[in-house]
C-alpha cells in the first residue's frame, strides 16, 4: 500500500518536481479565481509545457493546478459573488453572505483551509483505499450512475432554502438548457435552430459566469455608489481560519469522504460532490436555518468535498484507466503523452511514478494550506477597490475567460444572456444554484437512463435487478416522499424520533 510512496520519493523530491508543484498550486489558485478559467482550462493551457518535463514533475504541475484551481474559484465567489469556476457555485451560498457581514477574511481562510484539509483527506483515501474504491467504481454501470444523478437532482430541493418550488423551477430550466446540442442516441440535433454555436450545447462556464458574475455586475451597477471606498479592514496572516475548520472536524471528515467517494465514481465530479456535501451538512445540522446566511459549516462542507473529489477522481483514472471527470480525463491524456498508460499495469510496472504522483498531490494540498494562511490578506485586499475600478475589471476578466473557451464571441453572447436571466431571477428571489445542478446532472441522468435501456433492450427491470441501483433508487423514493410531506407532519415525525 505504502510501497509506491517510498518508491516515488526519489522521483518527487527533485528541484523540478517540487518547484512544479509549488508553482502549479499558486497558478491554479489564480486560474481558479479568474472567472471562466478553472482547473480544466488551466491544465489544457499548460499541457504542452509538460511534454518536455520529467513525468512526475509534469504530472505534479498539472495535478497542482487541479488542486489550486478547484479551490481558487471559491475566493471570487466569496468576495464578489462570482464563482471563478462552476465548482464554486455551492461555496457562494454561504461564502458571499459571510463576506457581506464583514467576515471576508474568515470566509476566504475557511475555504482555502477546508480545501487543503479536504484534499489531504482525499489523498489518504487515494493512497489507502484506491484498490477498494476502484473495485466499487466498476460496479457503477449506467443504471447506478443514473440513480445517483437522480439523487443529485433531488439535492436541488435541499439547497433551495425556503424557496423549494422556485428552486425546482430553476433546476428544471437548467435541465432543459442541458438538452441543447447533439443527441448521440437519436443521432440528431436538439434545439439548435441552425445556430452553429449551439451545436455543442450551451457551455457550462459561459452559463455560470453569466448567471452569477454578470448578474452581480448588473446588481452592483443598479446599486450605485461607484466612487465610495469599501469599508474593508486590512487583515494579517493567521491560523484562525484553519482552527475554525478543524473545530468542525465531523463535517470536514464527512464532506471529504463524500467528495472522495463521489470523485471515484466516473461521471459525478466536483459540482455534484460539493452540492451533495452541502445538502447533507445542512440536513444533519442542529441549526439548518443558519445555512445560506453566512455559516462556516456551509463553506467547510462544499470546499472540503470539492477538493477531496480531486483525490477521488484520481483513483479510477490511475488504477483503472477510466477518468473520474473531465479534468482527470485530461490528466490521463497527459500521462499517456508522457509515456505511461494508466491502468492496473501502471501500479505494477511503474510504482515509482504512481508514488511520485501521490506525493505531488499531497504536497499540492500542503502548499495550498500555507497559501491560505499567507495569501488570504492579499485576496481580501482586492475588494478594497472602488466599484468604478472593480466592476469594469471583473467584466473584463469574465469576457477574457469566456472568450478563451473556444476563441468564440458566441459564448460571450451566451454569457450576457445568462447574465440578464440571472439578474431577473435574482430580482424575483429564484435561487440560481439549482440551475447549475440541473445543467451538470441533466446529461448524466439522461444519457445513463437511455444507455441502460439500450443495454437491457428496453427492460425497466434492469434498474431494480441490480442491488446498488435499486438501493439508491429506493433512497431517492424516500427522499421524494419526505419532501412532499407537509411541514407539520415532518416536525411531528421528527419529534417522535
Amino acid at each position: 500500500m505504502l510501497e509506491p510512496l517510498f518508491q516515488g520519493i526519489q522521483l518527487f523530491f527533485t528541484m523540478d518536481a517540487v518547484f512544479a508543484v509549488l508553482v502549479g498550486t499558486l497558478l491554479g489558485l489564480l486560474i481558479g479565481v479568474l472567472p471562466g478559467l478553472g482547473p480544466l482550462m488551466g491544465i489544457i493551457l499548460l499541457l504542452p509545457i509538460t511534454f518536455h518535463m520529467e513525468p512526475v514533475a509534469g504530472m505534479g504541475l498539472l495535478i497542482a493546478i487541479y488542486v489550486g484551481g478547484s479551490c481558487g474559484g471559491a475566493i471570487s465567489a466569496i468576495l464578489v459573488r462570482i464563482p471563478g469556476t462552476p465548482l464554486a457555485a455551492a461555496t457562494l451560498l454561504d461564502g458571499y453572505p459571510m463576506a457581506q457581514k464583514g467576515r471576508a477574511k474568515d470566509a476566504v481562510g475557511i475555504a482555502i483551509s477546508a480545501s487543503a484539509l479536504g484534499g489531504v483527506l482525499g489523498g489518504i483515501v487515494l493512497i489507502f483505499l484506491a484498490p477498494l474504491l476502484a473495485r466499487f467504481a466498476l460496479e457503477f454501470a449506467p443504471p447506478e450512475t443514473f440513480a445517483l444523478a437522480l439523487t443529485g437532482l433531488l439535492v436541488i430541493a435541499l439547497v433551495s432554502n425556503e424557496a423549494t418550488s422556485k428552486g425546482i423551477m430553476t433546476g428544471a430550466f437548467g435541465l432543459l438548457i442541458s438538452t441543447i446540442g447533439y443527441d448521440q442516441f437519436a443521432n440528431d440535433l436538439r434545439f439548435t435552430f441552425g445556430v452553429n454555436g449551439l451545436l455543442g450545447g450551451i457551455h457550462i462556464v459561459a452559463m455560470v459566469v453569466g448567471l452569477f458574475a454578470i448578474s452581480e455586475v448588473i446588481v452592483q451597477i443598479k446599486a450605485g455608489f461607484f466612487s465610495r471606498n469599501p469599508d474593508v479592514p486590512w487583515v494579517r496572516p493567521s491560523l484562525n481560519s484553519a482552527l475554525m475548520v478543524l473545530s468542525r472536524w465531523v463535517n470536514l471528515v464527512r464532506s471529504s469522504a463524500i467528495g472522495s467517494f463521489l470523485g471515484a465514481l466516473p461521471g459525478a465530479g466536483g459540482v455534484v460532490s460539493s452540492f451533495t456535501a452541502y445538502a447533507i451538512a445542512r440536513s444533519s445540522s442542529k441549526t439548518p436555518e443558519k445555512f445560506g446566511t453566512g455559516f462556516e459549516d456551509g463553506i467547510v462542507a462544499t470546499e472540503s468535498a470539492n477538493n477531496a473529489t480531486v483525490g477521488g477522481s484520481l483513483i479510477p483514472t490511475l488504477s483503472l484507466g477510466i477518468p473520474g471527470d473531465a479534468t482527470s480525463a485530461v490528466l490521463m491524456g497527459a500521462l499517456i503523452i508522457l509515456g505511461f498508460f494508466p491502468g492496473p499495469n501502471l501500479f505494477e510496472q511503474n510504482q515509482d511514478v504512481v508514488g511520485g504522483i501521490f506525493l505531488a498531490y499531497m504536497s499540492a494540498n500542503v502548499v495550498l494550506f500555507f497559501a491560505g494562511i499567507f495569501l488570504t490578506p492579499l485576496f481580501v485586499a482586492c475588494i478594497k477597490f472602488k466599484k468604478q475600478y472593480l466592476l469594469p475589471f471583473i467584466t473584463l476578466l469574465c469576457v477574457l475567460g469566456v472568450f478563451s473557451l473556444e476563441s468564440s464571441t458566441f459564448h460571450l453572447w451566451v454569457m450576457l444572456a445568462f447574465g440578464i436571466i440571472g439578474y431577473v431571477l435574482r430580482r424575483y428571489d429564484y435561487p440560481l444554484a439549482p440551475m447549475v445542478i440541473g445543467m451538470v446532472l441533466g446529461p448524466i441522468a439522461e444519457s445513463n437512463f437511455r444507455r441502460s435501456l439500450v443495454i437491457s433492450g428496453n427492460d425497466y427491470s434492469f434498474f431494480i435487478d441490480r442491488p446498488i441501483a435499486a438501493t439508491i433508487l429506493a433512497i431517492n423514493l424516500v427522499l421524494i416522499i419526505w419532501m412532499l410531506c407537509p411541514k407539520g407532519w415532518k416536525n411531528r415525525l421528527l419529534r417522535r424520533v
Partner: protein, 333 residues
C-alpha cells in the same frame, strides 16, 4: 519598344514579382495561427495535435494554439473554421468524421476537394476486444458463432454516425451478425462497462488497449495492415480468417489531415506545408506521437485527393450498415 527596353522591362517585372513574392513569404505569418480541433480538449488526440502545432510554431515563429471546438461530430469546428478568412491563419484539424462522414449523412455540404491539404497527420486503428474471463466466446470464430446464435442479445460500444461504429456495423453486416450498439462518450467508459459485465464486447483503440492489456483480449483487428497488427501485439486480422471487411487502407481507421480553406494563397500554403513537413519528420516529435499509440500516416499533399476520396467511397458502403443495424436490432428484439 526596343528589344533592350523589352528585356529591361521583363527583368524589372520578374524582379518585382520575385520581391513581392518574397515579401509575402517573409510577412507570413505575422500573428497567431490557430488550429480548430473538432473534439473535446485534453484528449490524447488533442495532445497529439498540440505536439504537431508546437513543432510548427517553433518553425513559423508564431504561436499555434489548438482550439478545441467540439459539437455535432466535428461539424461545429468545420463551420467555425470556414467562417474565418482564407488567409492561412486558420487550420482545420480535418478528422474523417466531419470531413467525410458528416457530409455522407447530409449534415454538411463539403467534400474532400473543398479544402487544400497541408500534410496528412495521424491514424488510429481499431480492434474488437473481449474480457479475458469471457467464456461464451474465446476467439473470433466462436464470437461469430455465438452472435449468430443469439441475434440482438449482446451489446457493444457503438456511437451513432461515427467511427469506429460505422466500421463495426459494416463488419456485423458483412458477417450477418446482430448486436446492440450502445452510445458512449468515449471508449474508456465502455471499457468500464465491459469489465463490469454490462457490455459483451468492445471496439477499442490502441490507447485503451495499452492501458488495459490485462483486462482485454483482442479477437481481431479491423484493418488488413500489418502495422496495425503490431500495434495490437500481433493479434489476428479479419483477413487471417478469410473474411473480407469490404473496406481497407485508411477507411476503417480514424485519421486526420491538416487542411486550409481552398482559396488560401498558395505562398502561405507553401509556408505552412514546409513547417508541417519539417515537424512530422522531426525524430523527437515522431517518437512522442508514436508513444501514444497514434501512427503518423505521412501522405503528401498531392496524395490527399486520392486518399480522401477513396476513403469516402469505401465508407459509403459502410453507411448502409448503420441503417441495416438499426433495423436488424429492432427485428431481433
Amino acid at each position: 519598344m526596343t528589344l533592350k527596353s523589352k528585356f529591361s522591362l521583363g527583368v524589372a517585372t520578374i524582379a518585382a514579382v520575385a520581391l513581392a513574392g518574397s515579401a509575402a513569404f517573409a510577412d507570413f505569418p505575422e500573428r497567431k495561427i490557430q488550429n480548430i480541433f473538432p473534439w473535446a480538449p485534453g484528449t490524447v488526440a488533442h495532445g497529439v495535435s498540440q505536439m504537431i502545432a508546437e513543432g510548427m510554431s517553433e518553425r513559423l515563429g508564431q504561436p499555434l494554439p489548438v482550439v478545441a471546438t467540439p459539437g455535432a461530430g466535428g461539424v461545429k469546428a468545420f463551420n467555425t473554421a470556414l467562417a474565418a478568412p482564407a488567409d492561412g491563419y486558420t487550420i482545420f484539424d480535418g478528422y474523417v468524421a466531419p470531413l467525410v462522414i458528416s457530409p455522407m449523412f447530409g449534415r454538411a455540404d463539403w467534400g474532400c476537394d473543398d479544402f487544400t491539404p497541408l500534410w496528412s497527420a495521424t491514424s488510429n486503428a481499431f480492434a474488437i476486444a473481449i474480457s479475458p474471463t469471457e467464456e461464451r466466446f474465446t476467439d473470433f470464430p466462436t464470437f461469430i458463432e455465438y452472435l449468430k446464435a443469439n441475434p440482438g442479445k449482446t451489446a457493444y460500444n457503438g456511437n451513432g454516425l461515427s467511427l469506429p461504429h460505422m466500421v463495426s456495423a459494416k463488419v456485423l453486416q458483412t458477417l450477418d451478425l446482430v448486436s446492440r450498439p450502445v452510445p458512449y462518450d468515449d471508449i474508456e467508459l465502455g471499457m468500464k462497462d465491459l469489465r463490469s459485465g454490462v457490455l459483451d464486447w468492445l471496439v477499442v483503440n490502441p490507447g485503451v488497449y495499452n492501458a488495459n492489456k490485462d483486462n482485454l483480449k483482442i479477437l481481431v483487428t479491423l484493418s488488413e495492415l500489418e502495422s496495425v497488427q503490431r500495434t495490437y501485439d500481433g493479434a489476428d486480422r479479419a483477413l487471417d480468417f478469410g473474411i473480407d471487411l469490404g473496406i481497407s487502407g485508411l477507411a476503417p481507421m480514424g485519421w486526420n489531415w491538416w487542411l486550409v480553406r481552398k482559396d488560401t494563397p498558395e505562398d502561405r500554403v507553401a509556408v505552412l506545408r514546409d513547417a508541417m513537413e519539417a515537424t512530422i519528420n522531426d525524430p523527437e516529435v515522431r517518437a512522442q506521437i508514436e508513444a501514444t499509440g497514434f501512427v503518423l500516416t505521412e501522405y503528401s499533399p498531392d496524395q490527399y485527393s486520392d486518399v480522401c476520396n477513396s476513403a469516402r467511397a469505401q465508407l459509403e458502403s459502410a453507411k448502409d450498415a448503420i441503417t441495416w443495424e438499426e433495423e436488424a436490432v429492432k427485428a431481433a428484439n
